[in-house]
Symmetry: C2
């Protein structure tokens, strides 16, 4: 099944906001054998919206619109949809109740403008928006068997409601033929082109009902096997068999099963062994701690950490020696190793990651150019450390360094015995 | 003048890559009175490309395509354009010379696939790509006075070549009427609908050459005035006058001028007064430090911080009293105030932000439900603290709490005298 997406909003066309909703939708539907046919980004303008919907329906039976549903007068999408699908605007009490509930939770006063969200075209069925005030509207053309779902543009609302309500209802209305299955493994420490060379012959020998996709992320490559077959039992056995072969071919580069964040895997492995973790961050500036603490339940293993941007903080909170800082500089293996040990000492953690580097754009030198990052992981078994050279912008260097530190911590955790043993 | 953009590439439709080129183009052309009319994202497929170009020309006289010009077999854009505009493929020596020069600079070997970049439709005029191997192609229909420019999709190449070659040539061919100007201000502490009520009457009284847009972000609302007028001097004066009125109407909710990140503004205000900053984060888990250290040059003011997820770390690194933790719990005003003071003491910073809360999904109670976050900002003038109730998922609570802490630090910095005074 195809979905055509219409993204509505002047703010997108002036480059103030970047559309991430359509990418999210694409990634979410792909495992179910659905795909995004095309995306149109249009202004808050009735003619532009209507014309984009016409075009979208000429290509797909399912159209999802995002955006243009806020309470202010910028947002004319609802009226354009009423004109397109017919009917009158009517007051829907359950939408007002939902708006009131959302406002109550947020401790805000209801006003007339927000209450106007409760006006909905009679041609639409409302899907209650649990996480925002704009109702989600399901328009259906029963004769031509096609559906348009109008969703709000706030990424958080789109993500929550598309996965829990909109897509399940679409999948029920348009069941796909056969079954689709996926297996994802994560590999690291190899470039995409080297990996393609390593796997080329095996990939060419795959049956036509199984396909291999390379999906790189900063510091990692996801390898996804997509299977599509009439029956589930056979496909399940086959895809498992090929996943085992794939892992074996990747050898030491294989990191873990499933498309999950490295921080989740680290926390899972720590919890299994009843171990605790801490961070000591210079160039990553708190991002490693942020990635770890973004995972629900992380407080079970994460004790905390230090962001030691200044050398004083490195000395006073982490016990890095002034001599090492003078002799080797802050971006050096001796300093980053002392930072990792210092984080274990300061927090009592079983394992600690430390980073020190030059994220740029300034601060680089001939000897230590921008992108140079020293990373250390300390455990009771000792310290592992390495100096990396990451390409790209400041954000990219911070991302890569953070993910790499977490991968090193996963490897170190695998080799540790459980706490108390 | 309008530009319609066609973004070409399967990788965009599966959500592997996010299109940032069209936003860049939009931001670049806006000061010249040009705007992006719409954006279409389509697959690497000749029919989809051709149909998108037809639609783009039905809306704008200028079409820019990005992507689909790499040397691999996925990329069929060049052939689709040749079919669309006519002519034959011919070898262009200057393109091969350019490819050779780019490869020489990158220390790479030329292969046949890359040399094929030198084949260009006779209907196109080549704009030499100084920063990549794919030639930029200018197709012109002199009868209907319309132009299509095909550009590579690599953001770095698009940005460099659009600003230095493509847009100057488009602006020369299509001189524009009038000028466009924008002013953005950031406001906080008010909902979008309350703000719309507050500004409604004023907004309705705006002249037709000035428009107000509401652009909410987590914890903030951007208000943008867009002006369009034949002459720059008049518009400049007018838009400044309305911006002053708007700020005055927003009153205490006005935060700062310009569409910039709160962390940037905080760092700017700190640098002006030669002040330093630190963080003590529990529920935000390092995200505040990450937002601050994501700004280039932040090390001038940011000393560091502590992520105090466990109570032991709150006590040992930040000096929070065991008594306060016992009596009030970790999520309490006394604890978060001690954390902020502790961060100042531990790092020597002039100002520190501290957070302690329940980001969820677990850990909530009747008295302190998920979303409850205590935030404190300590300075030499004293401590400001407040308990908030933020809606939404764990990520959203962390985002909102982080932005709110930074806003409180901006307010606190505004009231501080420069260091040493």
């Amino acid at each position: 099944m195809d979905i055509s997406i219409v993204v509505i909003g002047d703010e997108l066309l002036i480059g103030q906001v970047t559309d991430t909703n359509s990418g999210f939708i694409a990634r979410h539907i792909s495992p179910f054998g659905w795909q995004v046919r095309d995306v149109q980004v249009v202004a808050d303008n009735a003619e532009a919206i209507t014309s984009a919907i016409d075009r979208a329906f000429s290509r797909s039976r399912v159209v999802v619109t995002t955006g243009g549903l806020g309470p202010t007068k910028d947002d004319i999408t609802k009226e354009a949809l009423r004109t397109y699908f017919g009917g009158e605007m009517q007051f829907v009490g359950s939408v007002l109740d939902n708006v009131k509930e959302i406002f109550r939770k947020r401790g805000l006063q209801l006003n007339d403008l927000t209450a106007s969200q409760a006006m909905v075209p009679t041609s639409a069925r409302v899907i209650q928006n649990r996480v925002g005030t704009a109702p989600i509207m399901w328009f259906e053309d029963p004769v031509r068997e096609r559906v348009l779902v109008a969703m709000p543009g706030v990424p958080f609302e789109t993500r929550e409601m598309f996965t829990t309500e909109v897509f399940p209802q679409l999948a029920e209305k348009f069941p796909t033929d056969g079954v689709v299955e996926h297996r994802t493994i994560m590999v690291e420490g190899i470039s995409e082109s080297d990996l393609a060379t390593l796997l080329g012959e095996w990939e060419a020998s795959l049956p036509d009902y199984i396909h291999l996709a390379y999906l790189p992320k900063p510091g990692l490559i996801r390898l996804r096997l997509d299977g599509h077959y009439p029956y589930t039992g056979f496909l399940d056995r086959e895809i498992n068999r090929y996943a085992v072969e794939l892992k074996s071919l990747c050898g030491e580069h294989f990191l873990y099963d499933g498309d999950r964040e490295p921080a989740e895997i680290l926390l899972e492995k720590l919890a299994e062994k009843n171990l605790t973790v801490a961070t000591a961050e210079s160039c990553t500036g708190g991002n490693i701690a942020h990635l770890i603490t973004s995972v629900p339940g992380s407080s079970a293993s994460m004790l905390g950490g230090v962001v030691s941007y200044s050398n004083d903080v490195k000395r006073n909170l982490l016990g890095v020696s002034a001599k090492s800082l003078d002799e080797h500089g802050a971006v050096s293996i001796p300093v980053v190793e002392q930072m990792a040990l210092g984080a274990c000492n300061a927090t009592g953690a079983d394992i600690a990651m430390a980073t020190s580097g030059i994220a740029g754009p300034g601060g680089g030198s001939e000897e230590k150019p921008v992108g140079t990052v020293c990373i250390a992981v300390a455990t009771r078994n000792g310290i592992t450390s390495h100096t990396f050279r990451f390409p790209g912008s400041r954000d990219r260097v911070i991302d890569r360094a953070s993910v790499t530190a977490i991968i090193m911590a996963i490897r170190a955790t695998e080799s540790l015995s459980p706490a108390g043993q």
